[in-house]
């Protein structure tokens, strides 16, 4: 493809070997997910040119590195990099930091304006402060703005929220969301947090021990039973929906998607607004008969696609509602008693739905 990210790297270190190949779309947020030590940061650094691996890297049609000897040094790659610990320059003020990259690209190439970046990340009151006096969240916002101000073709983010407290994380996530809306900028987002992935990623690459386990759209990857994601305690499905209606009496919002409708607690939303919801496998139960007198609001018609026994006495069931994948965690006893198997049509009761944004 002429747009998008194409990457292939092989690298051997003392205790670690990397051998990856994946592709990601040329826009939107692609998550790089894996446990600590899986190689996520290494992949990011290879793409940035901070590590020199054998391989190939092409971004939106331009070759940054290939197997024929081409290797653009980092400072020639049109990228932005947000490090895990902000890494602002201590000898420059926030303004000085922001201007650092900004000054180094010719005015003609500045797609992102200085004031825009400052406004998007809410940095105006912090401009004359020194990095040492900022909180973790403030530093990270400044780091993101600094990276954006080079008008990059690709933004690389290395666990930008790891190490921040919950309120700082909550503070920054909306900014990241908005970035994605405002800018036509592909972002490669490294994290070991499934929460963050669920929240903002559209595409996902899963890594383990230096290798790619799978890559694809996030909704699909999170429900694939051959990947470790679906077997975690917080295993879940991501559903893209739109706001259909609002029930103001009971403070509920109706979200429509391919498999039907979901009611979630919420306040008035604009109709037609696209939202993303997360359905935890532990919140989904199955019935063979449509439940009538139940307190659970959300009941969907589903078809069972796969059943896996990944834990003693338990089963993980992948179902589809109108083609949209969901996960359900049930006991092996129930599975046997209800005769849940591939192809069976039944009902999914969803106890809780998290509205992500």
């Amino acid at each position: 493809m002429s747009t998008g990210i194409e990457a292939r790297f092989a690298l051997t270190r003392e205790s670690f070997a990397l051998d990856v190949a994946f592709a990601a779309p040329g826009r939107g947020i692609c998550g790089l997910f894996g446990a600590s030590g899986a190689g996520k940061t290494t992949v990011l650094r290879c793409i940035a040119g901070l590590e020199r691996a054998r391989g190939l890297c092409r971004v939106n049609g331009r070759t940054w590195q290939d197997e024929a000897g081409v290797f653009l040094p980092t400072h020639r790659r049109p990228l932005g990099y947000v490090f895990q610990e902000a890494s602002l320059f201590p000898h420059l003020s926030v303004r000085g930091n922001l201007e650092y990259g900004w000054r180094r690209i010719p005015p003609a190439q500045r797609r992102i304006g200085f004031d825009d970046a400052v406004a998007w990340l809410g940095l105006r009151p912090l401009l004359e402060r020194w990095p040492g006096t900022l909180s973790g969240g403030e530093r990270q916002r400044a780091a993101i703005a600094r990276a954006l101000l080079t008008s990059p073709d690709l933004l690389l983010a290395d666990e930008p929220l790891t190490g921040l407290d919950e309120s700082s994380k909550a503070e920054i996530l909306p900014y990241l969301d908005r970035l994605h809306d405002e800018l036509d900028l592909p972002i490669l987002y490294v994290t070991h947090s499934l929460d963050e992935i669920s929240r903002i990623a559209e595409h996902l690459v899963v890594l383990r021990e230096g290798r790619v386990l799978g890559s694809g759209p996030v909704a699909e990857l999170m429900t694939r039973v051959d990947l470790p994601l679906s077997h975690r305690d917080d295993a879940s499905a991501i559903v893209a929906a739109t706001v259909a209606s609002v029930d103001e009496t009971y403070g509920l919002v109706e979200l429509a998607f391919g498999g039907g409708a979901l009611w979630v607690p919420g306040e008035s939303q604009a109709r037609g607004r696209p939202v993303r919801v997360r359905v935890f496998a532990r919140d989904v139960s199955l019935t063979r008969v449509r439940p009538e007198q139940t307190s659970i609001l959300n009941v969907l018609d589903v078809v069972v696609r796969e059943v896996v026994h990944d834990r003693p006495g338990q089963a993980l069931v992948r179902v589809e509602a109108g083609g949209v994948p969901l996960l359900a965690r049930i006991t092996a006893k129930s599975e046997a008693r209800l005769q849940i198997g591939p192809g069976v049509a039944c009902y999914a009761q969803i106890k809780g739905v998290a509205l992500l944004a």
Binding site: P73, H75, G80, F89, P90, H91, Y100, R104, A147
Partner: protein, 227 residues
């Protein structure tokens, strides 16, 4: 016997020697320290050890070998003569060469430590912000290493002021050209002129103390600036 007037050219030579030596060492030592800070491996170990050699060699030994090197039968002296140039021995340039060699580790090592303390992260960040290697050095590494520059300058300067052995061997103690304060003190002691000797010594001690106090003050201020 020495009069105050005769002290002035001696002090002048001493200060000029210290200033020129320090300037040369900063210019040449900075890229060397930078290279040492960024590298690992055998070549770095060897070069770092060579840089540290003047710390362990007695200055008169150093001076002696320099004398041989600069002499007409030595490699440097011979080359200079072949090129039609004068020998460096007994010249101000010659004692600058000697002082540069002798004070080398006092300038390079603080710089190297300061550059190492900068670490790789700020430089990686700068690279991702489109800064090339020279740009990164001048706009990120050097400002962050500023206390190191200060230490290197003061140490190099003070060390050269106090230097005795190398200048003695290579300089020929020519008044107005290669005769420095430390040699003057030695001569006064040898000639039992203790009065003059302790005046010069006290002056040098006082000067060094002032310089060191100023260094501490400046370092504190610099550190306060970049928290």
């Amino acid at each position: 016997m020495a009069t105050w007037e005769s002290l002035i050219p001696v002090a002048g030579v001493t200060l000029r020697l210290a200033a020129v030596t320090t300037a040369v060492l900063l210019a040449a030592g900075t890229p060397l320290a930078w290279w040492l800070a960024r590298r690992t491996g055998f070549a770095k170990d060897v070069i770092a050890s060579v840089v540290a050699l003047p710390l362990v060699l007695p200055p008169t030994v150093l001076g002696f070998y320099l004398l041989l090197l600069l002499g007409p039968w030595g490699p440097v002296g011979g080359a200079l003569t072949a090129l039609g140039m004068d020998s460096l021995a007994f010249t101000f340039s010659g004692i600058v060469v000697g002082s540069v060699v002798y004070s080398l580790p006092f300038v390079v090592q603080p710089l190297q430590v300061a550059f190492e303390a900068v670490g790789t992260r700020p430089l990686e960040a700068a690279a991702t912000l489109r800064a090339g290697p020279l740009d990164r050095f001048f706009t990120v590494a050097a400002p962050l290493a500023r206390p190191g520059f200060l230490t290197a300058t003061v140490l190099g300067f003070a060390h050269t002021i106090g230097e005795f052995g190398v200048v003695l061997m290579v300089g020929g103690s020519i008044p107005g050209r290669t005769r420095v304060l430390s040699i003057a003190i030695f001569e006064h002691v040898e000639a039992s002129e203790y009065g003059q000797a302790h005046v010069i010594a006290a002056g040098m001690l006082g000067f060094s103390l002032l310089v060191l106090i100023a260094l501490h003050g400046l370092t504190r201020r610099l550190r306060g600036e970049a928290p």
